[in-house]
């Protein structure tokens, strides 16, 4: 299975994960300051900044895209409860 690495910059922790993993499945376990509300892509609480490997994440769904726009999210911001890793090296941090 394809592997990917996600680095949580705020706590300096890197995790090797299988492709398809959502950021939410990892960030709480390692104690990153990315925090969650609804956990289903509706509230925008888990907005995070992707500092590296933007292209290694799944494309935002229509729902996520709507929430990103409502929250005036920057170009490389994503919802951690929605974004899935596809491979490669990714770095994220809380906004």
């Amino acid at each position: 299975m394809a592997k990917s690495t996600i680095t949580f910059e705020d706590i300096n922790v890197t995790v090797t994960v299988p492709a398809g993993t959502r950021i939410i499945e990892v960030s709480e376990k390692v104690g990153s300051a990315i925090t969650y509300g609804c956990r289903e892509g509706d509230c925008g609480t888990c907005l995070m900044k992707v500092t590296e490997g933007w292209n290694h994440l799944s494309e935002p769904s229509v729902l996520e895209d709507k929430i990103l726009r409502e929250n005036m999210a920057g170009k490389h911001n994503r919802l951690a409860c929605q974004a899935q890793v596809l491979g490669g090296t990714i770095s994220v941090k809380p906004v």
Binding site: V13, T16, G31, E70, M72, P94
Partner: protein, 426 residues
Amino acid sequence: MNSVILHNPEGQPQAVALSERVHWIGALDPNLRTFDIILKTANGTSYNAYIVRGSDGVAIIDTVKEGFGNDFFARLESVADYAEIKVIVLNHLEPDHTGALPELMRRAPQAQLFISQKAQSMLKGLLKQEQLSFTPVLTGDSVSLGDRSLQFLHTPYLHWPDTQCTYVPEESMLFSGDVFGCHFCDNRLYNDQVGDFRFSFEYYYAHIMRPFKEYVVRALELIEPLPLTLIAPTHGPILRDRPQRYVQRYRQLSSSALHSEISAQQKTLLIFYISSYGNTKRMAEAIYQGAMQVEDVRVSLYDLEGSEVGPFVDLIEEADGLVFGTPTINGDAVKPIWDLLSSLTVINLKSKLGGVFGSYGWTGEGVRLVEDRLRGLKLRVPIPGLRVKLIPTDDEIIECKAFGLELAQELMGLREAKVINFADLA
């Protein structure tokens, strides 16, 4: 003496002029005692709505709670025809301000709806209409009514994501939504005429605005420079007598009560514990000693038995890291811990460091349950909780010291980079 006339000689509700062009068209709810489950009010509340008349049309700013529409529409009709309504502004979509919106939209279908950028999905959730026409606005956006205009201020999270304020520069009036409001019902309407509402003003801030202090400060940056003759909130007295005093009070309430002795490069770590046989207490003291080894971490140790919850909430609000020690009794953390943790919704905890420890007899669930609660409160919990079965041994006391040290290092960003395999995560 009541110098504000809320009804005409026939007893019908009528609008109250705040100026030649601006009227109050709200409703009074003197019998309400509990608002939104969490707030008490000793004399009810008001649902304030307003109408602004320009040379090129009329704007309605906010509406009232469902069930109070008769007063709202009667007051509106006393000063305007529905056909004149060009604009409807919703500063806040909570149902106590949007209850009359569907009927207003039915009576004034030509009116254009203005809501904040963040209110869009909320409006759809509220009205359950997919084909809804509205204009989302941000700071800098405005709409003209001819010789009057509405300028929008993006002031999110006061106290919902959608909240905004609307300023009418030609009148120097701020329509502030729930900001500067309070649950206080008095038919004299104005702050210089109503009974003493100071307690209600402070109580409302403490319960509604306090969790969003950082957003209050951002909103004040937009509001403080504005010339103000009057602040028109959606609840409680209309602030026409020295409105700037209420802006200043918000600034004070959003700052620390007492000057903090902690310098800019220092961080604070608070350790709270409760202990039945002294075992969790011994752990707490060892964690305290461990954390004290890290320079620039100001550590405090508190026995939950020694205080009411309120002062601890104040301490926690300004702390950088929080550690909780609880025994496990009957499979749960103990009540004083839960009492404290259930009192923290009035403050912002997001991204503070959290840690949990405790002694237990045979199951030890308390620590894990409190860790989950801390995550639910949006703390980060990067270091797994520390549990000790009954009396800590000398080695376990060393472990406690190392736990304290690690927490303090984490707080200062001193922990070394780590690489973990997903499969190894608990």
